[in-house]
Amino acid sequence: MAPRARALLIAAPAVLPVALVLTGALVAALLQSLGLLPIIGEPEFSTAAWDADGELLLATGISVYIAAASTVLSVVVGFLIAAYVLTSGVSSRVLAVLSAASVPIPHLVAAGAMGLLLSDAGFLARVFGMPSGFPGLVGGRGWGAAILEFGWKESAFVALVLVGSMARSAGGLCEAAATLGASAKQRMLHVLLPLALPALGVSALVVFVYTLGSYEAPWLLGPVSPEPLPVRAVRLFGSIDLTARPEAMATALASVVVGLAAIGAGLLLLRRVRGWR
Protein backbone atom coordinates (compact mmCIF):
# COMPACT_ATOMS: atom_id res chain seq x y z
CA MET A 1 0.00 0.00 0.00
CA ALA A 2 1.24 3.49 -0.75
CA PRO A 3 2.53 5.28 2.34
CA ARG A 4 0.04 8.10 1.81
CA ALA A 5 -2.97 5.78 1.69
CA ARG A 6 -1.64 3.97 4.76
CA ALA A 7 -1.30 7.21 6.71
CA LEU A 8 -4.77 8.32 5.66
CA LEU A 9 -6.16 5.00 6.82
CA ILE A 10 -4.52 5.47 10.22
CA ALA A 11 -5.98 8.96 10.51
CA ALA A 12 -9.44 7.88 9.34
CA PRO A 13 -10.85 6.70 12.72
CA ALA A 14 -10.28 10.22 14.05
CA VAL A 15 -11.11 12.19 10.90
CA LEU A 16 -14.36 10.43 9.98
CA PRO A 17 -16.32 10.98 13.22
CA VAL A 18 -15.20 14.61 13.35
CA ALA A 19 -16.11 15.25 9.73
CA LEU A 20 -19.43 13.43 10.04
CA VAL A 21 -20.56 15.06 13.27
CA LEU A 22 -19.42 18.49 12.09
CA THR A 23 -21.00 18.50 8.65
CA GLY A 24 -24.04 16.59 9.86
CA ALA A 25 -24.63 19.04 12.67
CA LEU A 26 -24.15 22.13 10.53
CA VAL A 27 -26.30 20.88 7.65
CA ALA A 28 -29.07 19.70 9.98
CA ALA A 29 -29.00 23.00 11.83
CA LEU A 30 -29.17 24.95 8.56
CA LEU A 31 -32.08 22.88 7.24
CA GLN A 32 -33.98 23.17 10.51
CA SER A 33 -33.41 26.91 10.68
CA LEU A 34 -34.98 27.22 7.24
CA GLY A 35 -37.96 25.06 8.15
CA LEU A 36 -36.87 22.23 5.87
CA LEU A 37 -36.43 19.61 8.60
CA PRO A 38 -39.34 20.04 11.00
CA ILE A 39 -39.88 17.59 13.85
CA ILE A 40 -43.54 17.36 12.96
CA GLY A 41 -45.45 18.50 9.92
CA GLU A 42 -44.48 19.24 6.32
CA PRO A 43 -41.19 20.91 5.33
CA GLU A 44 -41.76 24.47 4.28
CA PHE A 45 -39.04 26.93 3.34
CA SER A 46 -39.01 30.03 5.49
CA THR A 47 -36.40 32.58 6.62
CA ALA A 48 -38.59 33.78 9.44
CA ALA A 49 -36.27 32.31 12.10
CA TRP A 50 -33.42 34.48 10.82
CA ASP A 51 -35.12 37.85 11.27
CA ALA A 52 -37.26 37.43 14.33
CA ASP A 53 -37.86 41.07 15.30
CA GLY A 54 -34.16 41.90 15.52
CA GLU A 55 -33.82 39.62 18.55
CA LEU A 56 -31.13 37.59 16.82
CA LEU A 57 -29.16 40.72 16.04
CA LEU A 58 -29.44 41.89 19.65
CA ALA A 59 -28.30 38.49 20.96
CA THR A 60 -25.34 38.58 18.56
CA GLY A 61 -24.41 42.06 19.73
CA ILE A 62 -24.51 41.00 23.38
CA SER A 63 -22.42 37.90 22.69
CA VAL A 64 -19.80 39.88 20.80
CA TYR A 65 -19.69 42.44 23.64
CA ILE A 66 -19.22 39.74 26.30
CA ALA A 67 -16.59 37.91 24.24
CA ALA A 68 -14.68 41.09 23.40
CA ALA A 69 -14.65 42.38 26.98
CA SER A 70 -13.65 38.95 28.33
CA THR A 71 -10.86 38.66 25.76
CA VAL A 72 -9.41 42.07 26.61
CA LEU A 73 -9.54 41.28 30.34
CA SER A 74 -7.98 37.81 29.91
CA VAL A 75 -5.21 39.06 27.67
CA VAL A 76 -4.24 41.96 29.94
CA VAL A 77 -4.30 39.96 33.18
CA GLY A 78 -2.79 36.89 31.49
CA PHE A 79 0.14 38.98 30.24
CA LEU A 80 0.68 40.48 33.69
CA ILE A 81 0.70 37.01 35.28
CA ALA A 82 3.15 35.72 32.67
CA ALA A 83 5.41 38.76 33.01
CA TYR A 84 5.45 38.37 36.78
CA VAL A 85 6.10 34.63 36.59
CA LEU A 86 8.97 35.09 34.14
CA THR A 87 10.76 37.88 35.99
CA SER A 88 10.32 37.32 39.73
CA GLY A 89 11.79 35.00 42.32
CA VAL A 90 10.32 32.19 44.36
CA SER A 91 6.88 33.82 44.70
CA SER A 92 6.55 33.69 40.93
CA ARG A 93 6.82 29.91 40.95
CA VAL A 94 3.98 29.68 43.47
CA LEU A 95 1.90 32.02 41.32
CA ALA A 96 2.68 29.95 38.22
CA VAL A 97 1.53 26.76 39.95
CA LEU A 98 -1.67 28.36 41.32
CA SER A 99 -2.49 29.89 37.98
CA ALA A 100 -1.91 26.63 36.10
CA ALA A 101 -3.95 24.73 38.69
CA SER A 102 -6.97 26.95 38.02
CA VAL A 103 -6.99 26.05 34.31
CA PRO A 104 -8.76 22.68 34.74
CA ILE A 105 -11.51 24.18 36.95
CA PRO A 106 -14.77 23.82 34.95
CA HIS A 107 -16.49 27.04 33.83
CA LEU A 108 -19.65 25.85 35.57
CA VAL A 109 -17.80 25.72 38.90
CA ALA A 110 -16.11 29.06 38.26
CA ALA A 111 -19.46 30.62 37.42
CA GLY A 112 -20.94 29.26 40.66
CA ALA A 113 -17.98 30.61 42.62
CA MET A 114 -18.29 34.03 40.97
CA GLY A 115 -21.96 34.05 41.99
CA LEU A 116 -21.02 33.43 45.63
CA LEU A 117 -18.34 36.12 45.40
CA LEU A 118 -20.05 38.90 43.45
CA SER A 119 -23.80 38.79 44.08
CA ASP A 120 -25.57 41.60 45.98
CA ALA A 121 -25.19 39.73 49.27
CA GLY A 122 -22.07 37.85 48.18
CA PHE A 123 -18.71 37.60 49.89
CA LEU A 124 -17.23 40.75 48.37
CA ALA A 125 -20.27 42.88 49.23
CA ARG A 126 -20.07 41.60 52.81
CA VAL A 127 -16.34 42.37 53.04
CA PHE A 128 -17.10 45.96 52.03
CA GLY A 129 -19.94 46.15 54.60
CA MET A 130 -22.85 45.80 52.13
CA PRO A 131 -22.59 49.28 50.60
CA SER A 132 -25.75 50.48 48.85
CA GLY A 133 -23.76 51.40 45.78
CA PHE A 134 -22.40 47.89 45.23
CA PRO A 135 -22.49 47.34 41.45
CA GLY A 136 -25.06 44.88 40.12
CA LEU A 137 -22.53 42.50 38.65
CA VAL A 138 -24.66 39.37 38.90
CA GLY A 139 -27.81 39.59 36.79
CA GLY A 140 -26.95 43.14 35.70
CA ARG A 141 -27.19 44.50 32.16
CA GLY A 142 -23.39 44.85 31.94
CA TRP A 143 -22.81 41.08 32.32
CA GLY A 144 -20.02 42.09 34.73
CA ALA A 145 -19.92 38.83 36.67
CA ALA A 146 -19.92 36.70 33.49
CA ILE A 147 -17.09 38.78 32.03
CA LEU A 148 -15.12 38.50 35.28
CA GLU A 149 -15.68 34.73 35.30
CA PHE A 150 -14.39 34.41 31.74
CA GLY A 151 -11.52 36.76 32.54
CA TRP A 152 -10.59 34.78 35.64
CA LYS A 153 -10.54 31.40 33.88
CA GLU A 154 -9.09 32.51 30.57
CA SER A 155 -6.35 34.76 31.98
CA ALA A 156 -4.86 31.63 33.56
CA PHE A 157 -5.02 29.94 30.16
CA VAL A 158 -3.38 32.94 28.44
CA ALA A 159 -0.65 33.02 31.10
CA LEU A 160 0.02 29.30 30.61
CA VAL A 161 0.41 29.76 26.86
CA LEU A 162 2.62 32.83 27.24
CA VAL A 163 4.91 31.30 29.87
CA GLY A 164 5.24 28.19 27.69
CA SER A 165 6.15 30.19 24.63
CA MET A 166 8.60 32.55 26.33
CA ALA A 167 10.18 30.53 29.15
CA ARG A 168 13.33 29.82 27.15
CA SER A 169 13.99 33.24 25.74
CA ALA A 170 12.58 35.73 28.26
CA GLY A 171 15.22 35.33 30.99
CA GLY A 172 18.27 35.92 28.82
CA LEU A 173 16.72 38.73 26.81
CA CYS A 174 15.53 40.57 29.93
CA GLU A 175 18.99 40.31 31.46
CA ALA A 176 20.58 41.58 28.27
CA ALA A 177 18.09 44.47 28.21
CA ALA A 178 18.88 45.32 31.84
CA THR A 179 22.61 45.52 31.16
CA LEU A 180 21.77 47.82 28.24
CA GLY A 181 20.00 50.24 30.56
CA ALA A 182 16.33 49.16 30.33
CA SER A 183 14.36 49.66 33.55
CA ALA A 184 11.87 47.08 34.83
CA LYS A 185 8.99 48.89 33.12
CA GLN A 186 10.92 49.28 29.88
CA ARG A 187 11.81 45.59 29.91
CA MET A 188 8.12 44.75 30.22
CA LEU A 189 7.03 47.09 27.40
CA HIS A 190 9.95 46.82 25.00
CA VAL A 191 11.09 43.24 25.47
CA LEU A 192 8.41 41.02 27.03
CA LEU A 193 5.38 42.53 25.29
CA PRO A 194 6.73 42.33 21.71
CA LEU A 195 8.11 38.88 22.50
CA ALA A 196 4.66 37.76 23.71
CA LEU A 197 2.71 39.31 20.85
CA PRO A 198 2.36 36.28 18.52
CA ALA A 199 1.28 33.93 21.33
CA LEU A 200 -0.90 36.69 22.77
CA GLY A 201 -2.69 37.05 19.44
CA VAL A 202 -3.36 33.34 19.06
CA SER A 203 -4.60 32.95 22.62
CA ALA A 204 -6.82 36.04 22.28
CA LEU A 205 -8.45 34.44 19.26
CA VAL A 206 -8.99 31.17 21.13
CA VAL A 207 -10.48 33.03 24.11
CA PHE A 208 -12.80 35.12 21.91
CA VAL A 209 -14.21 32.13 20.03
CA TYR A 210 -14.56 30.11 23.22
CA THR A 211 -16.34 32.80 25.25
CA LEU A 212 -18.61 33.55 22.30
CA GLY A 213 -20.01 30.03 22.46
CA SER A 214 -19.87 29.39 26.19
CA TYR A 215 -23.21 28.90 27.89
CA GLU A 216 -22.71 28.42 31.62
CA ALA A 217 -21.50 31.83 32.81
CA PRO A 218 -23.99 34.07 30.95
CA TRP A 219 -26.79 31.68 31.92
CA LEU A 220 -25.94 31.63 35.65
CA LEU A 221 -24.64 35.18 36.05
CA GLY A 222 -26.46 37.23 33.39
CA PRO A 223 -29.88 38.91 33.43
CA VAL A 224 -32.98 36.96 32.36
CA SER A 225 -33.40 39.25 29.40
CA PRO A 226 -31.95 40.21 26.97
CA GLU A 227 -29.97 37.08 26.20
CA PRO A 228 -26.68 36.39 24.43
CA LEU A 229 -26.61 33.75 21.65
CA PRO A 230 -25.92 30.57 23.66
CA VAL A 231 -28.55 31.31 26.31
CA ARG A 232 -31.17 32.18 23.70
CA ALA A 233 -30.38 29.11 21.62
CA VAL A 234 -30.55 26.70 24.54
CA ARG A 235 -33.80 28.23 25.84
CA LEU A 236 -35.48 28.02 22.44
CA PHE A 237 -34.11 24.51 21.86
CA GLY A 238 -35.66 23.31 25.11
CA SER A 239 -38.94 25.11 24.50
CA ILE A 240 -42.12 23.03 24.50
CA ASP A 241 -43.23 25.07 21.54
CA LEU A 242 -41.72 23.03 18.70
CA THR A 243 -42.03 25.99 16.33
CA ALA A 244 -39.18 27.58 18.31
CA ARG A 245 -36.77 25.03 16.83
CA PRO A 246 -35.88 26.96 13.66
CA GLU A 247 -35.10 30.03 15.76
CA ALA A 248 -32.88 27.95 18.07
CA MET A 249 -30.94 26.64 15.08
CA ALA A 250 -30.64 30.08 13.49
CA THR A 251 -29.24 31.38 16.79
CA ALA A 252 -26.74 28.52 16.99
CA LEU A 253 -25.64 29.11 13.41
CA ALA A 254 -25.26 32.83 14.05
CA SER A 255 -22.70 32.02 16.73
CA VAL A 256 -20.89 29.72 14.28
CA VAL A 257 -20.79 32.49 11.66
CA VAL A 258 -19.50 35.12 14.09
CA GLY A 259 -16.88 32.68 15.39
CA LEU A 260 -15.64 31.83 11.90
CA ALA A 261 -15.55 35.50 10.92
CA ALA A 262 -13.49 36.26 14.03
CA ILE A 263 -11.08 33.44 13.19
CA GLY A 264 -10.71 34.68 9.61
CA ALA A 265 -10.06 38.27 10.69
CA GLY A 266 -7.77 37.13 13.50
CA LEU A 267 -5.62 34.97 11.24
CA LEU A 268 -5.24 37.85 8.77
CA LEU A 269 -4.09 40.13 11.58
CA LEU A 270 -1.77 37.51 13.04
CA ARG A 271 -0.04 37.00 9.73
CA ARG A 272 1.04 40.64 9.84
CA VAL A 273 2.24 40.41 13.45
CA ARG A 274 4.18 37.28 12.64
CA GLY A 275 5.98 38.99 9.79
CA TRP A 276 9.22 39.09 11.75
CA ARG A 277 9.23 35.44 12.56
Binding site: L173, E175, A176, A178, T179, L180, G181, H190, P194, W276
Partner: protein, 358 residues
Amino acid sequence: MSSSLTFDRVSRMFGQSEVLSDVSLTVPARSLVALLGASGSGKSTLLRIASGLDAPSSGSVLVDGQDASAVPAENRGIAVVFQKPLLFPHLTVVDNVAFPARMAGVTRREARSQALEFLDLVQLGGFARRMPGQLSGGQEQRVSLARALAAQPRILLLDEPFSSLDSRLTDDMYELVGKIRAELEPTIVLVTHDRREASVLADTIAVLDEGTILQHGPVPELHYQPATRAVNRILGGLNEVPGHAAGGFHTSVLGRVRVQPGVPDGPALLVVRQEALRLIRNDDGGTSSGDEAPTGVVTEVKSMGAHVLVRVRVESAPGSGSTAVESIAVELAGAPALRAGDRVGVSLAGGQGWVVRA
Protein backbone atom coordinates in the same frame (compact mmCIF):
# COMPACT_ATOMS: atom_id res chain seq x y z
CA MET B 1 34.48 57.26 30.14
CA SER B 2 36.29 54.05 31.12
CA SER B 3 36.23 53.09 34.78
CA SER B 4 38.12 50.73 37.01
CA LEU B 5 36.34 47.73 38.51
CA THR B 6 37.15 46.22 41.89
CA PHE B 7 35.83 43.12 43.59
CA ASP B 8 36.30 43.45 47.33
CA ARG B 9 36.13 40.11 49.17
CA VAL B 10 33.15 38.93 47.14
CA SER B 11 31.50 35.65 48.19
CA ARG B 12 28.45 33.98 46.72
CA MET B 13 26.54 31.06 48.20
CA PHE B 14 23.97 29.02 46.27
CA GLY B 15 22.17 27.16 49.02
CA GLN B 16 24.90 25.32 50.90
CA SER B 17 27.58 25.46 48.21
CA GLU B 18 29.95 28.38 47.98
CA VAL B 19 30.53 29.30 44.36
CA LEU B 20 32.78 32.26 45.10
CA SER B 21 34.75 32.71 48.27
CA ASP B 22 36.46 35.96 49.21
CA VAL B 23 37.36 37.04 45.71
CA SER B 24 39.33 40.27 45.51
CA LEU B 25 40.46 41.61 42.15
CA THR B 26 41.10 44.99 40.58
CA VAL B 27 40.67 45.71 36.90
CA PRO B 28 42.37 49.03 36.07
CA ALA B 29 40.61 51.46 33.71
CA ARG B 30 41.21 50.81 30.00
CA SER B 31 42.81 47.40 30.65
CA LEU B 32 41.62 43.98 29.57
CA VAL B 33 41.61 41.33 32.29
CA ALA B 34 40.77 37.74 31.45
CA LEU B 35 39.10 35.52 34.05
CA LEU B 36 40.34 32.08 33.15
CA GLY B 37 38.82 28.96 34.62
CA ALA B 38 37.04 25.72 33.87
CA SER B 39 33.26 25.54 33.79
CA GLY B 40 31.94 25.64 37.34
CA SER B 41 34.89 27.66 38.59
CA GLY B 42 32.59 30.61 39.39
CA LYS B 43 33.82 32.95 36.68
CA SER B 44 30.42 33.59 35.12
CA THR B 45 28.91 34.18 38.55
CA LEU B 46 31.57 36.80 39.20
CA LEU B 47 30.61 38.53 35.95
CA ARG B 48 26.91 38.46 36.82
CA ILE B 49 27.73 40.04 40.16
CA ALA B 50 29.77 42.75 38.44
CA SER B 51 26.91 43.56 36.07
CA GLY B 52 24.27 43.64 38.82
CA LEU B 53 22.36 40.62 37.48
CA ASP B 54 23.25 38.81 40.68
CA ALA B 55 24.14 40.06 44.15
CA PRO B 56 27.06 38.83 46.27
CA SER B 57 26.32 37.04 49.54
CA SER B 58 29.01 39.20 51.08
CA GLY B 59 31.61 41.65 49.87
CA SER B 60 31.13 44.44 47.37
CA VAL B 61 31.72 45.61 43.83
CA LEU B 62 33.37 48.99 43.35
CA VAL B 63 33.29 51.05 40.18
CA ASP B 64 35.94 53.77 40.20
CA GLY B 65 36.29 53.09 43.91
CA GLN B 66 32.59 53.66 44.65
CA ASP B 67 30.38 50.90 46.00
CA ALA B 68 27.93 49.87 43.25
CA SER B 69 26.06 47.21 45.25
CA ALA B 70 22.86 49.27 45.54
CA VAL B 71 22.84 50.28 41.86
CA PRO B 72 20.54 48.07 39.74
CA ALA B 73 21.89 46.51 36.54
CA GLU B 74 20.22 49.03 34.25
CA ASN B 75 21.90 51.99 35.94
CA ARG B 76 25.39 50.57 36.39
CA GLY B 77 26.73 51.48 32.99
CA ILE B 78 28.20 48.01 32.68
CA ALA B 79 27.34 46.24 29.42
CA VAL B 80 27.59 42.50 28.88
CA VAL B 81 28.09 40.39 25.77
CA PHE B 82 26.81 36.91 26.59
CA GLN B 83 27.75 33.55 25.13
CA LYS B 84 24.50 33.61 23.16
CA PRO B 85 23.99 36.78 21.11
CA LEU B 86 20.53 37.40 22.73
CA LEU B 87 19.45 39.78 19.97
CA PHE B 88 15.82 40.85 20.36
CA PRO B 89 13.97 38.81 17.73
CA HIS B 90 11.32 41.48 17.15
CA LEU B 91 13.79 44.25 16.30
CA THR B 92 15.90 44.78 13.18
CA VAL B 93 19.66 44.71 13.52
CA VAL B 94 19.90 48.50 13.65
CA ASP B 95 17.06 48.75 16.20
CA ASN B 96 18.81 46.16 18.36
CA VAL B 97 21.91 48.36 18.39
CA ALA B 98 19.73 51.44 18.93
CA PHE B 99 18.02 49.78 21.91
CA PRO B 100 20.22 51.26 24.69
CA ALA B 101 19.84 54.79 23.31
CA ARG B 102 16.06 54.33 23.00
CA MET B 103 15.94 53.18 26.63
CA ALA B 104 17.83 56.31 27.60
CA GLY B 105 15.12 58.40 25.94
CA VAL B 106 16.90 59.32 22.70
CA THR B 107 14.62 59.77 19.66
CA ARG B 108 14.35 56.90 17.22
CA ARG B 109 16.06 58.85 14.44
CA GLU B 110 19.01 59.91 16.57
CA ALA B 111 19.36 56.45 18.15
CA ARG B 112 19.44 54.80 14.72
CA SER B 113 22.08 57.13 13.36
CA GLN B 114 24.27 56.42 16.40
CA ALA B 115 23.61 52.72 16.01
CA LEU B 116 24.79 52.79 12.39
CA GLU B 117 28.17 54.09 13.52
CA PHE B 118 28.58 51.15 15.89
CA LEU B 119 27.46 48.75 13.17
CA ASP B 120 30.13 50.22 10.89
CA LEU B 121 32.67 49.66 13.66
CA VAL B 122 31.89 45.92 13.60
CA GLN B 123 31.76 46.00 9.77
CA LEU B 124 28.07 45.20 9.54
CA GLY B 125 26.77 48.56 8.32
CA GLY B 126 25.16 46.85 5.33
CA PHE B 127 23.05 44.55 7.51
CA ALA B 128 21.16 47.24 9.39
CA ARG B 129 17.70 46.41 8.05
CA ARG B 130 17.93 42.65 8.45
CA MET B 131 16.20 40.64 11.13
CA PRO B 132 18.45 38.82 13.66
CA GLY B 133 17.31 35.45 12.31
CA GLN B 134 18.85 36.27 8.94
CA LEU B 135 22.40 36.56 10.27
CA SER B 136 25.10 33.95 10.76
CA GLY B 137 26.37 33.11 14.25
CA GLY B 138 29.47 35.27 13.86
CA GLN B 139 27.45 38.21 12.56
CA GLU B 140 24.95 37.91 15.40
CA GLN B 141 27.78 38.06 17.94
CA ARG B 142 29.22 41.13 16.22
CA VAL B 143 25.83 42.84 16.43
CA SER B 144 25.65 41.88 20.09
CA LEU B 145 29.07 43.48 20.61
CA ALA B 146 28.00 46.61 18.73
CA ARG B 147 24.84 46.80 20.85
CA ALA B 148 26.83 46.55 24.09
CA LEU B 149 29.22 49.28 22.89
CA ALA B 150 26.27 51.46 21.87
CA ALA B 151 25.29 51.55 25.53
CA GLN B 152 28.56 53.51 25.95
CA PRO B 153 29.40 51.47 29.02
CA ARG B 154 31.99 52.41 31.58
CA ILE B 155 32.97 48.74 31.68
CA LEU B 156 32.41 46.01 29.11
CA LEU B 157 31.98 42.41 30.27
CA LEU B 158 32.46 39.56 27.80
CA ASP B 159 31.07 36.22 28.99
CA GLU B 160 32.60 33.56 26.74
CA PRO B 161 31.32 35.48 23.72
CA PHE B 162 33.37 33.62 21.12
CA SER B 163 33.14 30.07 22.43
CA SER B 164 30.44 28.96 19.99
CA LEU B 165 32.21 30.36 16.91
CA ASP B 166 34.57 28.36 14.73
CA SER B 167 38.28 29.09 14.96
CA ARG B 168 38.58 31.25 11.84
CA LEU B 169 35.74 33.47 13.08
CA THR B 170 37.27 33.76 16.54
CA ASP B 171 40.49 35.09 15.02
CA ASP B 172 38.42 37.77 13.24
CA MET B 173 36.74 38.57 16.54
CA TYR B 174 40.11 38.89 18.31
CA GLU B 175 41.13 41.40 15.67
CA LEU B 176 37.87 43.28 16.22
CA VAL B 177 38.45 43.41 19.98
CA GLY B 178 41.90 44.87 19.31
CA LYS B 179 40.40 47.52 17.04
CA ILE B 180 37.73 48.40 19.60
CA ARG B 181 40.35 48.75 22.30
CA ALA B 182 42.41 51.05 20.10
CA GLU B 183 39.42 53.25 19.18
CA LEU B 184 37.31 53.34 22.35
CA GLU B 185 39.66 52.21 25.13
CA PRO B 186 36.96 50.50 27.20
CA THR B 187 37.70 48.61 30.40
CA ILE B 188 37.06 44.97 29.55
CA VAL B 189 36.65 41.84 31.64
CA LEU B 190 36.71 38.68 29.56
CA VAL B 191 35.50 35.38 30.96
CA THR B 192 36.89 32.39 29.14
CA HIS B 193 37.91 28.76 29.57
CA ASP B 194 40.34 29.02 26.65
CA ARG B 195 43.88 29.83 27.78
CA ARG B 196 44.89 30.72 24.23
CA GLU B 197 42.06 33.25 23.98
CA ALA B 198 43.00 34.70 27.37
CA SER B 199 46.65 34.95 26.36
CA VAL B 200 45.95 36.53 22.98
CA LEU B 201 43.53 39.19 24.25
CA ALA B 202 44.37 40.03 27.84
CA ASP B 203 46.85 42.35 29.53
CA THR B 204 46.60 40.28 32.67
CA ILE B 205 44.98 36.95 33.48
CA ALA B 206 43.23 36.03 36.73
CA VAL B 207 43.04 32.28 37.21
CA LEU B 208 39.87 31.20 38.96
CA ASP B 209 39.43 27.72 40.40
CA GLU B 210 36.70 26.49 42.74
CA GLY B 211 35.60 30.00 43.59
CA THR B 212 38.97 31.52 44.47
CA ILE B 213 41.52 33.46 42.48
CA LEU B 214 44.72 31.43 42.41
CA GLN B 215 46.88 34.03 40.69
CA HIS B 216 46.50 37.32 38.84
CA GLY B 217 49.32 38.64 36.72
CA PRO B 218 50.67 39.46 33.26
CA VAL B 219 50.41 36.73 30.64
CA PRO B 220 54.10 35.63 30.66
CA GLU B 221 54.16 35.49 34.47
CA LEU B 222 51.22 33.09 34.52
CA HIS B 223 52.98 30.81 32.03
CA TYR B 224 56.53 30.86 33.37
CA GLN B 225 56.09 31.72 37.04
CA PRO B 226 52.84 30.01 38.13
CA ALA B 227 52.03 30.33 41.82
CA THR B 228 50.84 26.75 42.23
CA ARG B 229 50.62 23.43 40.42
CA ALA B 230 46.96 24.16 39.69
CA VAL B 231 47.83 27.41 37.89
CA ASN B 232 50.51 25.61 35.90
CA ARG B 233 48.01 22.97 34.80
CA ILE B 234 45.25 25.44 33.97
CA LEU B 235 47.74 27.35 31.79
CA GLY B 236 48.62 24.08 30.04
CA GLY B 237 52.00 23.37 31.64
CA LEU B 238 52.78 19.65 31.46
CA ASN B 239 55.96 19.29 33.52
CA GLU B 240 56.15 19.27 37.32
CA VAL B 241 59.35 17.53 38.21
CA PRO B 242 59.65 16.43 41.85
CA GLY B 243 62.95 17.10 43.56
CA HIS B 244 64.61 18.97 46.35
CA ALA B 245 65.28 22.65 46.81
CA ALA B 246 68.31 23.86 48.72
CA GLY B 247 70.30 27.08 48.68
CA GLY B 248 68.63 28.54 45.59
CA PHE B 249 69.00 25.38 43.52
CA HIS B 250 66.61 22.55 42.67
CA THR B 251 67.90 19.01 42.19
CA SER B 252 65.96 16.40 40.21
CA VAL B 253 66.26 14.07 37.24
CA LEU B 254 66.84 17.24 35.21
CA GLY B 255 69.93 17.93 37.30
CA ARG B 256 70.80 20.93 39.41
CA VAL B 257 68.91 24.05 38.26
CA ARG B 258 69.10 27.59 39.60
CA VAL B 259 65.63 28.73 40.77
CA GLN B 260 63.99 31.94 41.96
CA PRO B 261 65.33 33.43 45.20
CA GLY B 262 63.56 32.96 48.52
CA VAL B 263 62.58 29.32 48.08
CA PRO B 264 62.67 27.48 51.41
CA ASP B 265 64.77 24.31 51.55
CA GLY B 266 62.87 21.05 51.21
CA PRO B 267 60.89 19.05 48.64
CA ALA B 268 59.73 21.16 45.68
CA LEU B 269 58.38 20.79 42.16
CA LEU B 270 60.36 22.22 39.26
CA VAL B 271 57.93 23.74 36.76
CA VAL B 272 59.24 23.85 33.21
CA ARG B 273 57.12 24.71 30.19
CA GLN B 274 57.28 22.05 27.52
CA GLU B 275 57.95 24.89 25.06
CA ALA B 276 61.09 25.92 27.03
CA LEU B 277 62.84 22.56 26.70
CA ARG B 278 65.06 21.39 23.88
CA LEU B 279 66.20 17.94 22.83
CA ILE B 280 69.79 17.08 21.93
CA ARG B 281 70.45 14.08 19.70
CA ASN B 282 73.07 11.91 21.35
CA ASP B 283 74.75 11.09 18.05
CA ASP B 284 75.36 14.83 17.55
CA GLY B 285 78.58 14.27 19.44
CA GLY B 286 77.55 15.31 22.93
CA THR B 287 77.52 18.74 24.47
CA SER B 288 80.32 21.19 24.54
CA SER B 289 80.25 22.13 28.18
CA GLY B 290 81.38 19.87 30.95
CA ASP B 291 77.94 20.06 32.49
CA GLU B 292 76.42 16.82 31.24
CA ALA B 293 72.75 17.27 30.10
CA PRO B 294 70.30 14.73 31.51
CA THR B 295 69.40 12.04 29.01
CA GLY B 296 66.46 9.77 28.44
CA VAL B 297 64.56 7.55 26.04
CA VAL B 298 61.78 8.82 23.75
CA THR B 299 58.54 7.04 24.65
CA GLU B 300 56.02 8.87 22.47
CA VAL B 301 55.96 11.32 19.55
CA LYS B 302 52.60 12.99 19.09
CA SER B 303 51.72 15.38 16.29
CA MET B 304 50.03 18.64 17.29
CA GLY B 305 49.90 20.06 13.79
CA ALA B 306 52.83 22.35 13.18
CA HIS B 307 54.33 21.25 16.49
CA VAL B 308 55.26 17.88 17.93
CA LEU B 309 54.91 16.79 21.52
CA VAL B 310 57.66 14.38 22.55
CA ARG B 311 57.62 12.45 25.80
CA VAL B 312 60.98 11.40 27.20
CA ARG B 313 61.71 9.07 30.12
CA VAL B 314 64.52 10.76 31.93
CA GLU B 315 66.58 8.87 34.52
CA SER B 316 68.77 10.37 37.16
CA ALA B 317 72.29 11.14 36.04
CA PRO B 318 74.62 8.32 36.94
CA GLY B 319 76.40 8.97 40.22
CA SER B 320 73.69 11.33 41.53
CA GLY B 321 72.80 8.72 44.10
CA SER B 322 69.15 8.73 43.04
CA THR B 323 67.21 6.21 40.97
CA ALA B 324 64.23 8.43 40.11
CA VAL B 325 62.60 8.24 36.66
CA GLU B 326 60.37 11.01 35.26
CA SER B 327 58.42 11.45 32.06
CA ILE B 328 59.17 14.88 30.60
CA ALA B 329 57.13 16.54 27.84
CA VAL B 330 58.91 18.63 25.21
CA GLU B 331 57.18 20.58 22.47
CA LEU B 332 59.18 21.02 19.30
CA ALA B 333 58.61 22.97 16.10
CA GLY B 334 58.85 21.24 12.74
CA ALA B 335 58.91 17.51 12.13
CA PRO B 336 62.02 16.12 13.85
CA ALA B 337 63.08 12.61 12.82
CA LEU B 338 62.47 11.07 16.23
CA ARG B 339 61.03 7.68 17.07
CA ALA B 340 60.14 5.90 20.24
CA GLY B 341 63.27 4.29 21.65
CA ASP B 342 65.66 7.02 20.49
CA ARG B 343 68.06 8.25 23.15
CA VAL B 344 68.14 12.03 23.59
CA GLY B 345 69.47 14.69 25.91
CA VAL B 346 67.11 17.24 27.44
CA SER B 347 68.22 20.83 27.96
CA LEU B 348 66.55 23.75 29.67
CA ALA B 349 66.74 26.98 27.69
CA GLY B 350 68.15 29.84 29.73
CA GLY B 351 69.15 27.60 32.58
CA GLN B 352 66.78 29.41 34.97
CA GLY B 353 64.07 27.36 36.70
CA TRP B 354 60.90 28.04 38.70
CA VAL B 355 59.65 25.89 41.56
CA VAL B 356 56.35 25.56 43.35
CA ARG B 357 55.50 23.78 46.54
CA ALA B 358 55.25 20.03 46.26
